[in-house]
Symmetry: C2
Subunit: 338 residues, 2 copies
């Protein structure tokens, strides 16, 4: 393995100084055209690439962004986050940034990881996902001045008008509203909602969309709930559908997740109504496989927005804090099937 060429090797080959080579790379506009070309061809000739550790050391920037990898929970969802991570990585790459992934089982453990990564200067910024009420991460990051953007709103009093940090989220209420409206038009007025127990932010937001659409239409429908998980959801709805007439008196069901939707769909099938229109959330492969409608979150759009907030619309480095907290609310898209 021949030693990799350094900036000095290039300088010698091009008959200029170190710094000029550095300038060609970092501030080409200040170098005279003819010398720039000479240096560029020397770079190409030698196959030179700047040694990133040296650059990091001097500039005190790692050009790396950290992101947490959620454990595989074995459930139906999860795909959304995987798509999101992929999209963020792609976007980051296009802006000359790298993505470092880390794992942690609890928020506390995540703070440990983050402390290590930031204090060793391995990352310049963080993308956090799945924010929740009283999330310890946001305050911690703000205090230490670590630039970050969250996929998920702060769930505080004033998310929209005066957010405590930059965030991007999908407008769950709008998604549920779209699904509910579609159901009202195509199936009938008795559209139910199948959600998580109250208090989960995301779930409440989606439920609100259903409520609003129903109120607008002057319609009413039952609300069911179950904790996360396909099996639980199926059991819950099997119970509900066992009530005489319950299944017959329902025109459609909007669900808080694809897991819930699949559970409800299977329960409806068991109850002899395989064709009950069911709407899920996340547009996972399972919903696709079973031909269920679902709300597509467009994690690619979220990813693009996250990087815009983190680096500015065209920047090639993380914005230093001091930049105002902004947010982006992505409009989801209803995918109709079945």
């Amino acid at each position: 393995m021949p030693k990799a060429p350094t900036v000095d090797d290039v300088a010698r080959a091009a008959g200029v100084s170190r710094q000029t080579v550095s300038n060609v790379l970092n501030a080409p506009e200040i170098v005279k055209g003819s010398t720039r070309e000479r240096v560029e061809s020397a770079i190409a000739e030698l196959g030179y690439r700047p040694h990133s550790a040296a650059r990091m050391l001097r500039t005190r920037r790692s050009s790396t962004i950290g992101i947490h990898l959620d454990p595989y929970a074995g459930g139906v969802s999860g795909v959304v986050l995987d798509r999101f991570i992929h999209a963020v990585t792609e976007r980051a790459s296009a802006r000359g940034m790298r993505m470092l992934v880390y794992v942690a089982r609890t928020p506390e453990e995540e703070l440990d990881r983050l402390a290590e990564l930031t204090e060793r200067a391995e990352i310049d910024a963080v993308v956090i996902t799945g924010t929740f009420h009283g999330d310890p991460r946001t305050g911690w990051l703000s205090e230490r001045g670590v630039p970050f953007v969250s996929f998920g709103r702060p769930w505080g009093a004033d998310d929209l008008a005066e957010p405590s940090h930059s965030w991007v989220d999908v407008d769950g209420a709008a998604g549920a509203r779209a699904a509910t409206r579609h159901a009202l038009v195509t199936a009938g007025p008795r559209v139910g909602f199948f959600g998580w127990p109250a208090g989960s932010g995301t779930g409440d937001d989606r439920e609100r969309g259903w409520r609003e659409a129903m109120a607008d239409a002057g319609a009413a429908g039952p609300r069911f709930e179950a904790a996360d998980g396909l099996a639980l959801a199926r059991k819950r709805m099997s119970g509900a559908f066992a009530e005489p007439g319950a299944l017959r008196e329902l025109d459609a069901l909007v669900c808080v997740s694809d897991a819930h939707a699949v559970g409800a769909h299977l329960a409806a099938g068991d109850g002899g109504r395989r064709s009950l229109p069911v709407f899920g959330f996340d547009n996972t492969p399972v919903a696709e496989a079973l031909g269920l409608s679902s709300i597509e979150q467009s994690p690619e759009l979220v990813a693009a927005a996250v990087l815009d907030l983190l680096m500015g619309a065209t920047g090639h480095a993380v914005r230093d804090r001091g930049a105002p907290a902004e947010h982006v609310l992505v409009e989801p898209r209803l995918i109709v099937r079945g």
Copy 2:
């Protein structure tokens, strides 16, 4: 933001020299007990962490491993790789390594990414996934002396006896054999196989397992095939089951993937035989949701094996090449459902 403490700060606080602090961190055994304690408490006191860029620059090691993120194909599988990446990251973290992810749409693009990452010294090693016949990556990496291990065998002449590089894979034939045997015992002798078109390595390997189990039992069954994708699979089997008696004369079906299995399951349902025992591969959430049996690949075991090959059983740095090429074949596990 107060300036982060350096090794010099710690040295001063502990009344020793730079190098002694460094030794406490990197070779504690050569430092006298009393001084070590003094230095350790100074480290704790100041909250010192070594600056990774400086260390990288000097040691010429980044302690970082690169891994490719597959694009979200929208299909049923993909979960296996996500679980694998998560597990690798966890294992790497435990050994003091970091994981850097990158994306690429084609193998050629992947080589570009790898060239950049290795030449800038951002990564010490690579984990590649989804190897195939004539994969350009393995040769490229070997030539350049970049340490790597693949999840997926080399698919060459002498994979097992004389592999051209270290690899870990799941024993697909064993998995299919287990499923077939189980089907023969619980369902009947007419066990079919639903595979990919021949030539895909992985698919051929799994099919071989079915063939062997059938031959051992002196049984015979039909073979079907379809390209990847749930919709295609369903259509193919709907066609097959339309033949008079075809569905009745089948006791069970072993499939090359969960997508195939789900397609076959749905087609069987359409044909009036919802209870046809179907066996998938990958144990994805969809199979779980529909109550189909499937073969669990245990990506966590694969991940552990990959890091063992890359770093040695207990090492804390990537083994330099010169280490012999080894391989590990992980035994998959049949998950019976329905």
